[in-house]
């Protein structure tokens, strides 16, 4: 075998194995999730009482900006990516992704981009800022013209826009990789309508990634030119308008919401059938509604802009398209409930989280309908009501869905089962915590508290509600701590999972846990949608033999994707520090990495 099978540090640094890259994504993203969570806790501590002064206004603005940016780009997207990496090739019966070294490149770019962004917490002295932290402070949405050099002269916004540019490259590379993988590497017989729901939603997500990220890349490039080269893309004095940024950002930003939620919907669509012992109800409809949500996600961006004054016609149109999205979303929810209906439901932790997803996502979806209506939204947008909404969607939805995936697939990824007892404690604490933290925010917003304020007046009458919310946030933190205990405990004391601890229908359960480096000893031939189950039409397939009948070629590791990735943050340092020669160094490293990578022999 090759270097990829031993456990040394080098083998991890050079790995091109989708499973190892999946684990790297998981641990990196989870670390960023903890950082984003700590930022949220400081925010909640500040708001626990009116006129709070735990942190300064400037630091608070950095905290909420980095909380949003971290959770969206460094936690939720890459946590989904860890499942794309680990699970998708297994679900389609492949030995790896289509471009393993490009996959490694995506990971290293993501890691370096995340480190680049977070370095801004500590490097103030290098920029003579007078403070330690010069983290981005313009909001995760970074509205122009506040982000122009005139109003944000420090390096804060530079860190943000350069960091996002780096992360965009990671997402785009991964997007193309997974589209090619899913379309081309499916096992014989796995037609598109036999592809598991999670892999389907991954495919839709990746199409959204490759179409949405170029839009924000353009928006950020304009901003970069404005800040570094004195152009005026968002400067109204020069005849432009800052509203252009809002269109570009939300044209990316709304598909981004579906990039965040569709993978979780895919996980739920796989978890529910396994634990109800019933096929996914209306598989075709669930898949098509996912595709439809992907398409419709492109026609709704201006619902983030109802207060901008686009006029009654535009408001009416975007209101209607937004409400329409509720239809395919509702269809998915009804199909999930119908999947449970008539089943034999085993209340595993994974099922708890999957059902928690449905129960909480409904609340986020319904509050979404209330601000799909522009006049009502004028009282809601930019208030805590919307903070409640997005957290019911992204925490109640995406995070719950991701935890369902973690409890479901962790045994596959590590060979050991997580503790169900601790898992249920985790679930219930998180469930109670999130509702305490986020439900009062609906009222806080309706009572008139805007979002992104570092302090508020006691006269607003929302002090008690804010205190409850803070208690909820710390309960969530406790639940995450329990999860970490569970993870650590499982390393040594988790029960061995075997090939298939749950009785799953899809191909990943037909091979050992964790899978051997080649995944499938023999590439399976798929004859139906639920290959490992007995249904009225067919018997279960035979699992691949424990050892491969012939030697399986596995590609070796490579240093060059990492080298190429290293070129990007160096390139970004050039504008950040206004140092021209760094641009040449960065470009040289990037090109050297790509050159060596391109001419590296495939056989190692």
């Amino acid at each position: 075998m090759t270097a990829a099978t031993n456990g040394g540090l080098t083998s991890w640094l050079t790995t091109t194995d989708h499973k190892r890259i999946g684990l790297l994504y998981f641990f990196t993203a989870f670390t960023f999730f903890l950082i984003g969570g700590i930022e949220a806790l400081v925010i909640r501590a500040q708001l626990a009482q009116p006129d709070g002064h735990l942190v300064t206004a400037e630091t608070y603005n950095q905290l909420f900006t980095m909380h949003g940016t971290t959770m969206v780009f460094l936690a939720l997207m890459p946590l989904s990516a860890s499942f794309f990496n680990y699970i998708v090739p297994l679900q389609i019966g492949a030995r790896d992704v289509a471009f393993p070294r490009l996959n490694a490149f995506s990971y290293w770019v993501f890691l370096l981009g995340g480190l680049f962004l977070n370095a801004s917490w500590f490097v103030g002295p290098l920029f003579h800022a007078g403070v330690l932290n010069v983290a981005p402070d313009g909001g995760w949405f970074g509205y122009a013209n506040l982000t122009e050099r005139q109003f944000s002269p420090g390096p804060n916004i530079d860190f943000w826009l350069l960091g996002l540019q780096i992360l965009g490259i990671s997402s785009l590379a991964a997007g193309f990789n997974f589209i090619v993988t899913i379309l081309n590497l499916r096992a014989p017989g796995m037609k598109m309508m036999r592809v598991p729901a999670f892999t389907w939603m991954t495919l839709v997500t990746q199409f959204l990634v490759i179409t949405a990220f170029p839009v924000i890349t353009v928006g950020l490039a304009f901003l970069m030119f404005d800040r570094f080269f004195g152009t005026h893309f968002y400067v109204h004095e020069a005849g432009a308008t800052p509203v252009l940024w809002q269109h570009l950002f939300w044209l990316f930003g709304h598909p981004e919401v579906y990039i965040l939620i569709l993978p979780a919907m895919g996980i739920v669509s796989d978890v529910l059938p396994t634990f109800a012992r019933k096929p996914l109800f209306g598989y075709t409809v669930v898949v098509y509604s996912g595709v439809l949500i992907g398409f419709m996600g492109w026609g709704v961006w201006s619902h983030h802009m109802f207060s901008v004054g686009l006029g009654p016609i535009a408001d009416s149109v975007f209101s209607a398209t937004t409400m329409l999205i509720a239809v395919p979303t509702g269809v998915k929810i009804f199909n999930w409930i119908a999947t449970l209906w008539g089943g034999d439901i085993r209340g595993t932790t994974a099922l708890h989280f999957a059902v928690g997803f449905i129960a909480m996502f409904i609340i986020g979806g319904l509050s979404g309908v209330t601000h799909a209506s522009p006049p009502a939204d004028l009282q809601q947008t930019d208030t805590y009501y919307v903070v409640a909404h997005i957290h019911y969607v992204l925490f109640g939805g995406t995070i719950m869905g991701l935890f369902a995936g973690i409890y479901y697939w962790w045994p596959k990824m590590t060979g050991r089962l997580l503790s169900e007892t601790l898992g249920k404690w985790h679930f219930w604490l998180q469930f109670v915590g999130m509702n305490l933290a986020f439900f009062p925010m609906h009222l806080i917003g309706l009572l008139g508290m805007p979002r992104r304020v570092y302090t508020y007046s006691p006269e607003l009458g929302v002090s008690d509600l804010n205190r409850v919310s803070t208690v909820g946030a710390f309960l969530i933190a406790l639940s995450i701590l329990l999860f970490l205990v569970n993870l650590l405990r499982t390393r040594t004391r988790g029960r061995p999972a075997g090939n298939d601890p749950w009785g799953g229908a899809t191909l990943e359960w037909s091979i050992p846990s964790p899978p051997p480096v080649y995944n499938f000893s023999v590439i399976p031939t798929v004859a139906n949608r639920l290959p490992r189950w007995k249904t009225e039409h067919h018997e279960p397939m035979r699992d691949p033999p424990a050892t491969p009948p012939a030697a399986v070629h596995v590609p070796g590791g490579s240093w060059w994707p990492m080298l190429a990735a290293l070129g990007l943050p160096i390139l970004a340092l050039a504008p950040l520090t206004h140092t021209l020669w760094l641009a040449f160094v960065g470009a040289a490293v990037l090109l050297a990495g790509i050159y060596l990578w391109a001419f590296e022999p495939f056989e190692v």
């Binding site: 603005n61 009654p312 209101s319 209506s373 009458g461």
Partner: protein, 332 residues
């Protein structure tokens, strides 16, 4: 008179339990604009609540009824049901029609056009305070907007720097203040009162400190206020502390940014011609009293992060500040 709506009662009772009086609440509308959005929101809320109850109930019933029991036969592998799919596609679509029609009607009803005889007000957002101009009355003031009760008000909103959002929830929904663009809202306040609001679009360091008040006056009260505001600023008595203050004001950096009619023409900061008629200073942050004025003049950025009203160099003495305060407090 505000219409009484039985379905508001649960929300109102709940809120009473939490204290009050919620001066910035969207749930206590005091104008035609705020009432229209509140009625719409309440309608949508009850549709949403109904859907919530039905769907969560179905979910719970499924979980309880079909939970695992020993000896339960293997479930029937149903794959779908075309009629049901059609039904639960149509059901939300129909509900959404009931939401969409009043929505579109309200969008056009609240599109921002007031009758031509409406009181015209210009709102200009600054980092981090509000400038209010009455072009037809020749009045410029800051952070406290006076309007007459039961009269249409046409508000034109823009910004002098970054994007802000003008929001006084009891009187209606927010509109963004965007540099280079004028947005309009219109409302007719239905009761005399003192309503608070604040900037709703993140606009930099002191976004949280960009507050405002809307004072809805009786007809007589508004007329008196207009008369006071249109009068020239008070002239301090000879040899008074206020007169010293005026002299210090006129030679200090104050005049570079602030306007006092006949004294200084600055436009960067709030117009101080009748500053003593206002109840708050610093973007609605502090009461307009001697103690807060003293702290503010001595070191504004310490009280309001990012404030461009810097500490004077050389610093003003306490005596200077006391004199300036006496002058400012004479500007009724």
């Amino acid at each position: 008179m505000p219409r009484y709506r039985w379905w508001s009662t649960p929300a109102a009772l709940f809120l009473l339990g939490c204290g009050g009086p919620f001066p910035q609440s969207t749930l206590h509308p005091h104008s035609d604009f705020a009432r229209a959005t509140d009625v719409l929101f309440t309608d949508i809320f009850w549709w949403a609540a109904a859907v919530f109850v039905v769907v969560e109930a179905l979910l719970l019933v499924a979980l309880v009824r079909f939970r695992h029991r020993e000896g339960r036969p293997a479930p029937k592998p149903t794959h779908g049901h075309t009629l049901m799919e059609i039904a639960w596609t149509l059901a939300p679509a129909v509900i959404l029609v009931f939401v969409a029609v009043p929505t579109v009607r309200t969008i056009f009803a609240t599109a921002g056009d007031a009758p031509p005889d409406a009181l015209k007000v210009e709102v200009i957002g600054h980092q981090w305070w509000w400038e209010f101009k009455y072009p037809e009355l020749g009045i410029t003031t800051a952070n406290e907007l006076h309007v007459p009760v039961a009269k249409a008000v046409q508000v034109a909103i823009t910004s002098a720097d970054v994007i802000h959002s003008f929001w006084a929830p009891p009187l209606g929904g927010k509109r963004d203040a965007i540099p280079g663009q004028v947005n309009r809202i219109a409302f007719r306040a239905d009761s005399v009162g003192d309503y608070s609001g604040q900037c709703a679009e993140f606009c930099g360091a002191s976004h949280a400190n960009m507050r405002l008040r809307v004072l809805v006056d009786s007809d007589a009260g508004f007329t008196a206020w207009v008369r006071d505001q249109q009068s020239p600023p008070a002239t301090p008595a000879k040899a008074s502390l206020a007169e010293q203050g005026k002299a210090i004001y006129a030679r200090a950096a104050c005049i570079g940014c602030h306007a006092i009619q006949g004294v200084s023409p600055g436009t960067i900061g709030p117009n101080l011609t009748h500053v003593a008629s206002r109840t708050t200073i610093a973007g609605g942050l502090f009461p307009d009293d001697s103690a807060h004025l003293a702290g503010w003049i001595a070191d504004a950025p310490a009280l309001k992060p990012g404030s461009i009203m810097t500490r004077m160099k050389p610093p003003l003495t306490d005596a200077d500040i006391a004199a300036i305060i006496a002058y400012l407090q004479s500007l009724k």
